[in-house]
Point group: D3
Chain length 116, copies 6
């Protein structure tokens, strides 16, 4: 893996700022909505982050997976819980999810080291 | 909607039996695994059904959505909780998820009537 | 095709109302954003509807295709223009787009009859 | 299933003719290429039809599946062979392929009856 | 981003030549068709490039996005126009398109520098 | 291409081991099933690897493509045969498969050199 969690966050932050600086209202409101959707509601934020993670996995978006793994760690998920999400993602999405699962586990382990 | 929950279940059951009757070991074991993945573990079955529902929505599989809606109702989810799952699915998967959300809400309402 | 343009519109309208009646803020704002994204801006609304149509085709969402075909007809697109959008969708998305193209042409022809 | 093999073929043929009648060169050549790709070459036509079937399944296109099932029957595939293709499609594409597999088996059985 | 526009073009060109050198007729004709689909017709080439870009974004193909961004710059699109295409792609395709949008904006900015 | 076949295999092996070491039963059985699905049966293993390759291509999973290319080489496929699989994948999956085809051919050529 070529990218550390720190590098991922820096690139993500910088490019999000550049995108918002284009001053496109639809993109601004979409980003805002994306943040709001994961707040506590009828379902707790922790559950919503799990929903975000499994969706990112079945849709096979590595950067989205990394982002939600960070949120899942902040929300206090255990490795066993995260791996059960991986299992469902593999079953629903099939063996094409396996390479993303390998990278997801590697990133989760990197986050654990940093957090340790 | 042309199909009632009853019709959906009947067709699903009959064709699953026909598929298993072909005696293909990989399919048999895959179906078996599909059942096991949603049992209580590090995560409770209820959470796993939510994961199954949101995955089915972002992958836009109407029959999978119906199946997981039934399981979510059995698991005791409220309408407000289910609709928050719809919201995340729409945000992650985009406006192409909207038509599936319309059908999902209709089916959920049908299940409520039957259960009522 | 089992559904007329009139039936499609009625179902769509009724279920959208039911969805909005659940009073989920994220869904409400997402629907609102979906309307705003296609208004005149740096690009004219007509161009944006074409973008919506081709996106719906490559993502193979029949209901989204119908919706954007209606908008494209309102925006005054000719059949030759619509068919060129079909062509690009087929090329980019591959032969799995063909069945959706058949249904799209049928729906476009139905809209022409109604408009005639 | 609402549609017989006969109805499927009739609709498919009529709409393909209507599409070709629009006289769009890209679509004409794309359809032509689609036919040529499955002819005998380094790989026999029979193998290519299997490739077309499994691709249609993992991409979850019911009409494409029906079309390739017809071709696979013409090419002399046995039910055991077709079901092994189903198994690989389920494993690669995940449990979201299951509903399409149910409909695929039903259609295959209908084709067997007609051929019988 | 590890790859400059120049490196992208070089790799793309070299591998396309190697692919065509395999002398597979279907691939040759498919590549040829791919070029023809974007020529002026009922719709101008500029509009077609926008259709190609939005399709590539909702299907989340970074290399296809880069290619169409180059074509869009050659066709004279402004940044505001390109960003409106990004907005529609995000809305239709959902938040999983965001990481591709970050990379798309970065590439567009690189193209602007080169062109400047 | 940043990764040699050797690097790909090493990373794949290491991370698969780490995944299996999490001791999640569903993942273990899914991996096991994934191996079994490609064994000789009604269809020979060689045909099944071709099915795995074409599925990986239309689903645009580069790592899956590499894996099945290795298996196809072990199974004795010729370059002409592999390229015909590429052709069908491009036709079914569309021009978004082209970038994956470029990388697939490069990887195939690397495998040929190593095997040579």
């Amino acid at each position: 893996m070529s990218e550390t969690p720190e590098e991922f966050r820096t690139y993500r932050k910088e490019m999000n700022e550049r995108l918002l600086a284009t001053d496109n209202k639809v993109i601004k409101r979409f980003f805002n909505l994306d943040t709001n959707a994961y707040l506590d509601g009828a379902l707790p934020a922790k559950t919503k982050e799990m929903l975000g993670l499994v969706s990112s996995m079945v849709l096979r978006c590595d950067d989205c997976i990394k982002y939600h793994l960070e949120k899942c760690m902040e929300a206090g998920l255990s490795t066993a819980e995260v791996v059960e999400i991986f299992a469902i993602a593999n079953l629903v999405g099939g063996s094409i999810v396996i390479p993303h699962t390998r990278r997801a586990l590697e990133y989760w382990n990197l986050l654990e080291e940093t957090a340790g």
